[in-house]
């Protein structure tokens, strides 16, 4: 399926919950309402026309006015790729986990939580993965202040 067809399929099925579609870019993407992400993911995985069985990347991006969560999906059977984005507010960003759809999302979401502070509701093990468990702050945010010390050690 071409990116245009996938975008059309999504709009067709989910209507107004798909906020924006840009299938003609170098990396085609659609913006999905955060509350709908689990349904959209399950649909894209299960449907035979898309069969997106491979979650390639799940990451956060910090724009000045919002935090985005990016899902890059790929289909091993059909060899097509599509990107979903969800826009979250900067204070207390939260979204439902897609761990039940793709097992790999477990660690990727932990990293997004560690680096951006995005809380994934329903995650089985929501704790930091790369930074120590008692680290303060979310390093990849643009307004991150480097701490002066960690547990009495100068950083």
């Amino acid at each position: 399926m071409t990116p245009q067809e996938i975008a059309a399929l999504l709009v067709d099925r989910f209507g107004s919950r798909i906020l924006e579609c840009k299938p003609d870019e170098v990396n085609p993407w659609s913006v999905v309402e955060p509350a709908a992400i689990l349904e959209v993911s399950q649909f894209l995985r299960a449907d035979d026309r898309t069969s997106m069985d491979h979650l390639e990347l799940l990451g956060g991006i910090d724009y000045k006015d919002r935090i985005e969560v990016v899902y890059i999906l790929y289909s091993m059977k059909q060899h097509h790729r599509y990107t979903l984005k969800c826009r979250l507010p900067r204070e207390a960003p939260a979204i439902h986990t897609v761990e039940s759809v793709w097992g790999v999302a477990n660690w990727h979401e932990r990293e997004a939580y560690d680096m951006f502070g995005i809380v994934f509701e329903g995650h089985s093990d929501m704790r930091r993965i790369l930074c120590p468990d008692d680290w303060e702050g979310y390093p990849l945010r643009k307004d991150y202040k480097y701490p002066k010390s960690y547990r009495d050690m100068p950083v």
Partner: protein, 373 residues
Amino acid sequence: MEVDFSGDVMTLNMGPQHPSTHGVLRLELKTDGEIVAEAIPHIGYLHRCFEKHVENVDYPGVIPYTDRMDYCAAMNMELGYVLTVEKLMGIQVNNRVRCIRIIMAELDRIASHLIAAGTYGNDIGSFTPFLWCFRDRETILDLFEETCGARLLYNYNWIGGLMFDFKPGFEKKVIEFIDYFEPQVDNLNRILSDNFIFVKRTATVGIMSPEVAINYGVTGPNLRGSGVKFDVRKDEPYLGYQDIDFEVAVGKGEHGPIGSCWDRYMVRIREVKESCKIIRQTVAQLTPGDVRESIPKRVKPPAGEVYMRTECPRGELGYYIVSDGGLKPYRLKVKSPCFTVMSAFQEVSRGSMIADVVAILGSFDIVLGEIDR
């Protein structure tokens, strides 16, 4: 495996400092006697905030940082990043650059798989293949040193071209090495891969079914060991791989169920032979040219985003770049193959014995620099 964990579960730590964990990885093993109930990996000991650093350097300056992620196959790390930026900017490179990039990437693939095979033998207890693999790897590192001055971290693939061209006579040395090396792989098979004890230790252990592998996003030799024929070089070819004739090595389960540690290890050995084929064909395709001809004066990609993946020795390496039109990347996210395969580790090692945990970890061939970035 049906196990009843009603007994006392003891927590054992394979701590960050350990001879067999291929880097600083902490494995928390919850064991009931000999059987492992859970093997929980804890990472982050080598986290150097690569993604934060690169937001403060310009695009060409990111290349040395990418080297240091997977330091065993640095050429492939650079290649992935450079191809991603070139895709965003729409740069086409000439034939000489394309061929040299393929030759260097495949030589690095051979070097990386030699490390994987040698250290895996070491973990299982066979000390000799380790030294044989490293002896052969030395020749590859000498070739790299001759071209770009460094043995391990190269800064060689630049955006739009390469740092240096080959020295005269380099192609002959590469072919000489490949001619010498292909029989050595058979030697290695005799001492390690087909060894009865090695097969007994690895061919029934760490079975990862294709469904588990795809669910956990496993790629590369780990996925192919489970029988799934999937290689980025064939699926979404870059750099002209579609015109090169090579096979994708897949695990066939000769000594046990498909998806065992032995299958994953054997896929790597077969891939080494395929890399030799690729190098021979590419050396024949080399044409003269200037390797710095397409390098832009200032690397300023247009605003937008791009995702590109390449096949590095450990799996599918993906770079996701968000550019705001400036000189520095706004966001660079790396999808590292070892990160995803480690997330599957807990699932695969459940129910195995303690000694098998080491075998499974070795068969995944992880490099912590890539997991932690």
